[in-house]
């Protein structure tokens, strides 16, 4: 069932005549740009490095996710020479579990939590004196956030007192809170923490020709029912509107005109080793936060010896992630975990003011005057082992196993948190000439470390988590904090946005300063990371880019 083993379709992969727009990458950013532009009558070609995964195989992929023989990267076949990378930086970065290549991009694997950034995220320098302000404000993205929520089909409620202002309700009703959410809500009240619904790009009722969630519980890395949004949906819509989509055609480099002012063609490879040139009036680079800078660096030329669109020297720099903080344990009551694979309650109370204290009916969260970044708290619905996974790796079976399964399941709870990282120039994606991919191109090298402010914020998240879990009476068994944290797989910051060509790669419309017909709709344009999952903002930016392009074509 490997997508590589399935017969590669006899699709014609020769280039189209010069089109209006060539979109590189078929994740959510590329899918949304392609759909909107094709829908407005423009001639669009999408070039995607990975395969088109057959929806009929989803149940088998779900089984791969559950059965222990398969690693995390195998569900979507992320391995081998195509996906090589190196991590010479201080921390190892697990790139191939942090992305997917194929039509749909990383949304094939993603969890599907989608929230708007806060107004404060656009003003980090003005408010906290760190990092930089974005050249756009929340208000500029606000209408696009609403459009993105409709496009992705977000199930959400307007019960979040900490969320930025919104005019319209979410397109789908929120998922009801879980049983364990209700336990948490009581404990949170006792310590003064408010909980609210999570906006999910997951159908709570049928939407956009996709079914409602049926509770397979394996959302990440695969939803067999189609209830979880994947960008396959917009890629298909783009095709219905007339776009041409080529899969398995990794773009090798972008070529510019003799003046170095416009991109002329995307040069892509096909599996027979041929190279082809797709020409277009405009280009949208939508390969995600790691491959966007890599492709620009691979496209070096005489005019751009340090990489295309890299007059600033900043392509690949300011790589940011969200870091995870978590804590969990057991209760002396049934908590009913692992029925679904997504989260239904969280708290953004400490987002804008992470050091603020809280006063509850019985106890309190102590305030902190540390210098901290934004954080958000999550209440998990999949704490503790899943019985089927335990059974599959157990060293026994039959009547010996059953009591172990019963003992191991039923009493777990856990909390998570995301913390944003400051943009730092030394955290970066470069090329590693020592290692090459299946086409002989240098692979991405990831230099990554975590700064002290981020570590302090992780410790603060742990402090709040401990207060809540103790109030709930949890016997705390594990903690993920500053010293053993890991990334949330959100790649940001590597082609940052700004008004000054010296200190940014793209302008506020996400057009590169150097090349007048190259746009980069992506989290790679984020100036700061916030602590909210990035994809709704990526989608909003992509729709805004599509409008801008539409008006210029």
């Amino acid at each position: 069932m490997s997508a590589d083993e399935t017969e590669e379709s006899e699709q014609d992969r020769t280039p189209s005549d010069r089109v209006d727009v060539c979109v590189v990458g078929a994740g959510p950013a590329g899918g949304l740009v392609a759909h909107r532009l094709a829908d407005r009558g423009h001639d669009v070609v999408v070039l995607e490095a990975g395969p088109r995964f057959d929806p009929a195989d989803r149940l088998e992929r779900m089984e791969r996710a559950i059965r222990p023989i398969h690693g995390d990267d195998e569900v979507w076949e992320m391995s081998g020479p195509r996906d090589e990378f190196t991590t010479p930086g201080e921390l190892f970065y697990p790139l191939n579990v942090a992305r997917v290549k194929g039509v749909g991009g990383s949304t094939l694997h993603w969890q599907g939590m989608v929230m708007r950034l806060h107004e404060s995220d656009f003003e980090r320098r003005s408010r906290d004196g760190v990092a930089d302000d974005w050249p756009i404000a929340y208000g500029d993205l606000r209408p696009y956030y609403a459009e993105a929520e409709s496009a992705l089909g977000v199930a959400g409620a307007s019960d979040n007192p900490f969320a930025p202002p919104r005019e319209e309700p979410h397109p789908l009703p929120a998922f009801e809170p879980s049983h364990s959410d209700s336990l948490f809500a009581e404990a949170c009240e006792r310590v003064g923490v408010t909980t609210h619904a999570v906006p999910n790009a997951r159908n709570s009722e049928p939407y956009d020709d996709r079914s409602a969630c049926v509770g397979y519980g394996t959302c990440k890395p695969v939803c067999p029912s189609g209830a979880k949004y994947t960008a396959e949906s917009h890629v298909e819509k783009a095709e219905e509107a007339g776009a041409r989509v080529l899969d398995r055609v990794p773009v090798q480099r972008l070529e510019h005109d003799s003046a170095g002012e416009r991109v002329e063609a995307a040069v892509y490879a096909t599996s027979d080793g041929e190279e082809h040139r797709q020409e277009a009036r405009a280009f949208a680079l939508a390969c995600g936060g790691v491959e966007n800078p890599r492709l620009l660096l691979l496209s070096e030329s005489e005019q751009y010896p340090d990489g295309l669109a890299n007059s600033s020297g900043l392509v690949g720099r300011h790589f940011m992630e969200h870091l995870f903080a978590g804590m969990g344990g057991t209760l002396e009551r049934r908590t009913r975990q692992n029925h679904v694979g997504f989260i239904t309650s969280e708290s953004h109370q400490f987002y804008d003011d992470p050091g603020a204290g809280a006063e509850g009916t019985e106890s309190s969260v102590p305030p902190s005057d540390d210098d901290l970044g934004p954080l958000k708290l999550e209440f998990l619905n999949y704490a503790g082992p899943s019985p089927v996974e335990t059974a599959l790796s157990a060293e026994t079976w039959g009547d010996d196993l059953l009591p172990q399964l019963r003992e191991g399941y039923g009493n777990h709870v856990a909390m998570g948190a995301l913390v944003g990282q400051l943009p730092r120039a030394e955290n970066r994606i470069t090329l590693d000439p020592e290692t090459t991919d299946d086409h002989g191109n240098p692979v991405p090298a990831i230099y990554w470390r975590i700064d002290d402010r981020t570590k302090r914020t992780l410790a603060r998240a742990n402090e709040i988590q401990r207060t809540i879990l103790e109030s709930l009476g949890v016997d705390i068994e594990w903690t993920v904090g500053p010293d053993n944290t890991g990334p949330a797989y959100h790649h940001m910051g590597t082609t940052r946005m700004g008004t000054d060509p010296e200190s940014s790669v793209v302008d506020p419309q996400l057009r590169t300063h150097d090349l007048s017909n190259l746009w980069i709709p992506s989290s790679s344009a984020f100036v700061t990371s916030g602590a909210m999952n990035p994809t709704l903002t990526i989608a909003a930016l992509a729709l805004r880019v599509a409008d801008d392009l539409d008006s210029r074509l």
Binding site: E176, S178, W397, G398, L405
Partner: protein, 175 residues
Amino acid sequence: MELTRRDALAALTGTVVAGSAGALTWDRLDENGESSERPTGETLTALAEAVYPSAVENVGEFVETYVVGRASERPEYERGVAETAALVEAYAVDWFDAPVPELAREERDQLLRQLGTQTADPDPDGTDAERVRYYIVNELQYALYTSPTGGELVGIDNPQGHGGGTESYRRGPER
């Protein structure tokens, strides 16, 4: 706890099977199996009785529906499971002088342990023990514990891998 045909179909997660459910009997599999003198179904059912907790009833029909349902969809799997069943049969005759279905439940359990299956990593292309772990023990465990009845046995009415809707996660334990 009685396993039902519905459980087996649920564990199969209803792929094609819904349409062809009537035909999911061992003869469909044995017609194609060339590798063994003993029908694969008899071996698998007998082993399932050892791998499943004794509280589980109606193992035969459950395993038949599940395994045949899978096999009829995937020729590679069908070959793998038939060959692995034949391999276990050969060990049974070597070590216990009798085919698997004629062994006592404890002997079947012992046979699997003697093979080293408890600690073997599941691998369809691995050693004998690894293949038995993959094609027989884990295959049967996956079928049982992603089905509603298997989940219920442990205390989760909508186990991972089963599309049991979005109501159970909201219910308290008392219901």
